[in-house]
């Protein structure tokens, strides 16, 4: 479903991503790991159209999405969360979620301005749907709180719900459990896994905490300095000499 061919990206002279290829089938959950600055977030930025790759292509459902604007890529069914949280901080949680449903809604300008019954109905349905999803992630009590005033952990959850209401096929999660302790992280990932099943989602997950990603991903790609140094099942990765070497420099989290 997502196929990336020889993706390369330079920042000036810095090779952030080099010759990255991946093939993801529907309903898979794939992990992407690597030490700091390995190029993981950059790959997300390339898939979602924030940057245009220096070389290589991104195909989704057989269509070449390389060079598309971010909003079009999202409308094709790829959506992401952000490592450094990017919520609409002064908007309430429910509004944050509703914004992301924007392009699925139909009310035209005129219907909105006249507040026609069709508009009112759609708004109500969207609001209810958003509230229901927020409830799954334990956000019911803060629906009307400005998103920026929540603690980090809950902001990350809002980001996930916001991504889900775009009704994606492929969900890109950039360190969704950052800042959580291993127990919370595992809980969140279990929840994500369940959601993925319920919504028939495909997931590409960046995660720093190895045990977390080991528990959920069926295949893991390991990056270091922009290059893919290993691909395999969690078991294979765990014992891969290159991976151990790359992570040893970082204090061997394994």
């Amino acid at each position: 479903m997502l196929k990336i061919d020889h993706l390369t990206h330079y920042f000036g002279g810095l090779k952030a991503v080099e010759d990255f290829s991946i093939d993801i089938q529907p309903r898979q959950m794939i992990g992407l790991i690597g030490p700091n600055g390995a190029g993981k977030t950059t790959i997300f930025n390339l898939i979602t159209g924030v940057y245009k790759p220096t070389q290589g292509h991104v195909y989704f459902d057989g269509e070449d999405l390389t060079g598309f604007k971010p909003w079009r890529i999202t409308q094709h069914g790829i959506v992401r969360t952000f490592q450094n949280i990017r919520l609409f901080s002064t908007m309430s949680v429910i509004e944050n979620i509703m914004v992301a449903h924007h392009f699925r809604m139909k009310a035209g300008l005129l219907a909105s301005i006249l507040r026609l019954p069709s508009f009112i109905k759609e708004e109500r349905e969207t609001r209810e749907m958003a509230a229901k999803l927020a409830d799954i992630f334990g956000l019911s009590d803060v629906l009307e709180t400005p998103a920026g005033s929540l603690p980090y952990g809950r902001q990350r959850r809002v980001e996930i719900v916001r991504a889900l209401v775009t009704e994606p096929k492929l969900l890109l999660l950039d360190e969704p459990a950052a800042g959580m302790n291993p127990k919370e992280a595992l809980e969140l990932l279990a929840l994500i896994k369940k959601i993925a099943e319920d919504f028939k989602l495909t997931i590409l997950l960046i995660e720093h905490q190895m045990p977390v990603v080991m528990g959920v991903a069926e295949r893991i790609h390991v990056l270091d300095f922009g290059r893919t140094i290993a691909v395999g099942t969690p078991k294979e990765i765990q014992n891969h000499p290159k991976v151990i070497e790359a992570y040893l420099g970082e204090g061997a989290k394994l």
Binding site: F11, T41, N45, V50, Y51, F82
Partner: protein, 380 residues
Amino acid sequence: MEVFLSQFIFGIQRGTIYALIALGYTMVYGVVRLINFAYGEVFMLGALFSFFIIQLMPLPPVLNVIVALLVPMALCAILGLAMDTVAYKPLRAKPRLAALITAIGVSFFLSNLVSYIGPDSVRTVSVLLFATAGLVILMTLSQKLFNFPKVPKSTGINWLKRSIMVGSLCLLGAVAWIAKPALALLRWKGSSFTAFPVDKLFEVVKYPIFGSVYITNVQIVIIIVAVVLMVALSFLVNRTMLGMAMRASKNNKEAVSLMGINVNSVIAFTFIIGTALAGAAGVLSAITYPRITAFMGIQPGLKAFIAAVLGGIGSIEGAMVGGIIMGLAEQFAIGLAPSSFGAAHIDFTPLAEGISFAILIVVLLLRPQGIFGEPPQDKV
């Protein structure tokens, strides 16, 4: 050919003036990413200060030219420092838009203040300044004695800052009170502009260079002064510690401050240099188009900004090249636009004035980063 050549000379002259102002825009933007809209007003004040110096201080020739240029530059530099300290520095940590709006406020304030001040009204301004000083004293006392309006104990009152504030308000008030006779020289209420006394500086001499084309000693002086200033600036930016700090601040403020350099002083210096150059541009411009008004800075300010965008905002060479191109383009458009067209007698000269804005739009469409700029990329 002759027409072309004389337009070319005028164009270069016009362009050097734009370039000088554009340098201020570009340097400040390079370091703090702020468009300091008030350069046009600094330009106007440069011309105004020069006017007063020439009128009030009869000096021997040559010396008068130097004084009439350098003193306004120094005064404008002080103004630039004051502008940064009062209006922009407190907003460094705020969204960029806030400082941009303040800059517009400063520009609006200065031009309207100058337009308002005249022999009849200056004493009102003086009274207002004293009243503000009084208000500050009253507020300070009420804070000290009754803690009203409530200030957190930890903030306290910065006595030094308050004293400086009251002191400078009173000083300005006193200056405004005394300035009445001097302001009588300004007569733009009646005739909408005041003539700049060029004749007290130069006796205009024309040197023929080609056929009927002349270059005047005034033009030569303007071009030489502008070139000297630009060379001095290049030296400052490329060869001195201060210049190095400036260029480094552009890329990485944290690293610069880690190296023990005070970023705020670097920014302040950038303002000082930029405003001094804009002041010089004002003087040079007043010598060529000897009419000064309170709003004379708006147009050159805008056009210089466009020149900076054209050259690539943030780039010093860009500002110089952009300024010259703008000056030439404008001079040729105005000089060569048909003043009557066919039988309809449509005068196109008013439209020629808009050429700079047409340039702006074309640049933004084709190459928004300008000639020397790099395309921006923001981090996600």
